[in-house]
Symmetry: C2
Subunit: 505 residues, 2 copies
């Protein structure tokens, strides 16, 4: 083949291929890849790091948190008592927490962190009480790296505070950026308190769980709700899942579903509304709840009580109506000076993930999207850390800012220590793969280092760079206790990397 033919081929290929548009995820621009196909990052705009839009996707909102200012700030009359990170950002102040987030992200300046918070696209869930007990602030938003959450907590079937503390530490070891205490068994108050004190990462809860301990859901009152929220805020919880978007009028759409409501909070509230023939109390009391949360700077995680529980119900009217209300509540949170992220599904076929992410971006004006999975097939119980890591990668690429892990035990039972590890690792994979795909600066550096160690057949370095060093080492040594210049997969004669080293450079 002549050189000319090669040049002709390259020219033809160039014409066929889209030009790289995203940023280079390798800080040293290593290797020969043509470059990232994400959108060019626009930190400070509506698409900080973003996937290109498949035709027909909803465009980003033209509004931000700046369009939903508290009356007090807008009028400029009353003296503003800045309380939340959002308040400070709006006033132009860079808090110590913003500094920490910028330092940990690496690719963001404190000013950028502040501006993203002011626009509502990034939050730092950091309760003042927890900050006083050593919380390391974490930023959640599209300008930052993708975060993962590990759910822990007791159940009535299995409960021990010590075990949950161990699970928390274990989850942190395997990379959890936040943890949610979903305890429903044993002394949940003591367990929550212990977890917050033990946790250097933000802790979230779903307060309605505790509200029905020793009480039927029908007996839940406005007073009980506010008292429980106040107690948990005072304990230092950093974010609350509040299912305020599920309205009475939505319930008729649930009837069309194959598996009605699968959110615990959602089903409890549905039962309350049906029994009392009244609107969702969290919706009715939303401004009071905001006032309470603002005091401590507890962030909202607006719950998706109507998330689908199977592929058959994905992206349906019930789910989308609730999301639309969550968009309004996002606006109201901002008007009340509160930080807010929005929760999302769940069970979603792979083709529908992008539109789910981009619809939230539109309706909720870029507020961070915090999604559970999503699971992309229902028939693999025992492997839902994998079915959902697939969906989570697509979700993070197309718009999610935080991924709630799913463990192999999902749909089957309460996760134990090993399940927590497997869930965390599957989600670190998803978050990291999306960060590289989005072109987040330096996100590929460790991949490049390990690739180089492979090219050099430096096994020890290869293991040290592995996310789970011990497992990688053990698997390798199963057949080959000594580290030769090849492995048991190909053996010496067929080792491509070894042969490759013999080629002239």
């Amino acid at each position: 083949m002549s050189k000319d033919n090669g040049a002709h081929r390259i020219a033809t290929l160039e014409r066929l291929l889209p030009s790289p548009t995203g940023a280079n995820p390798s800080s040293r621009r290593l290797g020969s890849t043509r470059g990232c196909l994400a959108r060019s990052p626009e930190i400070g705009g509506p698409v900080p790091f973003s996937s290109p839009d498949t035709p027909g996707m909803p465009a980003p909102s033209e509004k931000t948190a700046w369009d939903f200012m508290p009356n007090e700030q807008e009028s400029g009359q009353a003296a503003i008592v800045a309380t939340t990170q959002l308040d400070h950002a709006r006033l132009g102040k860079i808090t110590p927490e913003m500094e920490v987030v910028a330092r940990n992200e690496g690719h963001l300046s404190p000013e950028q962190v502040r501006d993203e918070i002011a626009s509502g696209r990034l939050i730092i869930p950091a309760n003042k009480i927890h900050l006083s007990h050593g919380l390391e602030p974490v930023g959640i938003g599209r300008a930052s790296r993708t975060k993962i959450n590990a759910n822990i907590g007791t159940s009535p079937i299995s409960s021990s505070t010590d075990e949950e503390i161990c699970k928390l530490e274990w989850a942190l070891k395997w990379g959890a950026d936040t943890a949610m205490d979903l305890s429903t068994g044993g002394d949940v108050d003591a367990c929550r308190q212990a977890l917050i004190r033990a946790s250097r990462v933000p802790v979230g809860t779903v307060p309605i769980y505790s509200m029905i301990i020793g009480r039927k859901i029908e007996d839940l009152t406005y007073e009980v709700i506010l008292a429980e929220l106040e107690k948990q805020a005072r304990q230092g919880v950093d974010f609350f899942t509040i299912h305020a978007g599920l309205l009475r009028s939505h319930l008729e759409h649930v009837k069309e579903r194959l598996i009605g409501i699968v959110s615990r909070g959602g089903s409890l509230i549905a039962k309350w509304m049906t029994h009392h023939r009244k609107e969702n109390p969290f919706y009715e009391m939303f401004d009071e709840i905001c006032a309470l949360m603002r005091q401590y700077d507890v962030s909202f995680s607006l719950g998706d009580g109507l998330r689908p529980g199977g592929l058959a119900d994905a992206t349906d009217t019930a789910q989308l109506l609730e999301l639309s209300v969550l968009g309004e509540l996002t606006e109201r949170s901002w008007s009340n000076g509160c930080q807010v992220m929005v929760e999302g599904p769940g069970h979603v076929p792979f083709d529908q993930i992008e539109v789910n992410m981009k619809l939230e971006r539109r309706l909720c004006h870029g507020a961070p999207f915090y999604v559970l999975g999503p699971i992309v097939t229902d028939v693999f119980p025992g492997y839902d850390h994998i079915t959902s890591a697939i969906g989570a990668t697509a979700a993070a690429f197309h718009g999610a800012s935080m991924l709630c892990y799913v463990t192999p035990k999902e749909h089957l039972g309460l996760p134990k220590r090993e399940d927590v590890k497997q869930g965390c690792i599957a989600y670190k994979i998803a978050a990291h793969a999306a960060d590289v795909a989005l072109g987040i600066p330096a996100s590929r550096d460790r991949d490049d280092e390990i690739t180089r160690a492979r090219a050099d057949l430096e096994w020890d370095k290869h293991f040290e760079l592995s996310f789970d060093e011990e497992t990688a080492r053990k698997m390798h040594e199963e057949d080959m206790p000594e580290h030769e210049g090849y492995c048991s997969m190909c053996g010496h004669d067929w080792c491509a990397v070894r042969i490759n080293k013999e080629l002239p450079r």
Copy 2:
């Protein structure tokens, strides 16, 4: 909230959302989902089942195998001796193998299978010898369901024919649609023979592996190549990986890489070309190889000797130049009456998967794409069944027809029994998730059944419908030996599904 407001919300949502375009993957149209966002299927056209194109993607080729007819058929002079499935399809004949494929797919008629084969978009790798020993034909192409391949085979470090037969049966139990025997240790001829006889699914090989047993790669001759191919064809191998697209002129582009050549076949051929200062012998002898393979109807799997070995080298010039040559070789295979699929990467960041799939569709005129993974991050050795199942799902959604599994042992050692199972399951997940996302008819039916079993809290049915029933059952019973109407994850009081059943219908 008034009814009107709900109606207004729904109208707003309708305006924002793309209309469902794909087919309904539920044969009974169950549930409330809005529908599939894949392209409308066009079986008989260039995009049988296809994802929508992100802007900038290469359009499908306007050519098919019909544009690359053998001289004999084109001229109509010589009597045509139809040998391969492609030959028969071109002559309008429906073979018994096409009948079986149509029956097993369910959504395709024998005529559609024939027409897809004639156009080169579907293959049935079925060596006449293997057919006489009970091969159950399998269709690989975009009109059919996505297939998965399991690699098995001995290595010089670990080899036993019995163990490989067990691994084969084990892989078939966990859903492998084809198997490749990549043996390089022990009596590889006997092992291959035994595997073909034991396998009801198509068996593929990479014949160059056997060509260097007892021989340095430099000593490989044209005669040795043809003799080995003839021997394996006569044994009944259904498809050969032939690395004919890697040319001498491509090697200069390898130098820019972080990790040069990671394909075993590719590295061996590179070494041969460098030593002899001659062109790739598989490329030079391509027509002779076609003639030999056509006799037995061995299908080509055109190997990607220059696939990237790390994210840093993905979609680079070396890889794409080879793919461009594979496009030409696809044309030549068709001109020689041979069935052909094309192999693809490897290690690809999530943002670059779609363009890789659509470039192959263009350059290789819709010939089935058979990809390895791709892995979407390099830093998780020990978990590469997950890192690659993520890439594989995106690959199958955007254009791949068969997925070569990657086991947890990838980059570390030779997979064992449990690794084979984990690899197969991760890839069944990927293939199935993509089939549902593409709207392949009836592909969601089992998901819907299991969703209904969940809604009804019918645990036994739930387990029976699980892909890995035993694992699901074991995980559930860990905390709850009896099957109550809830599980240990939430317990009785917080079980959303139980509460849901109490809501009025």
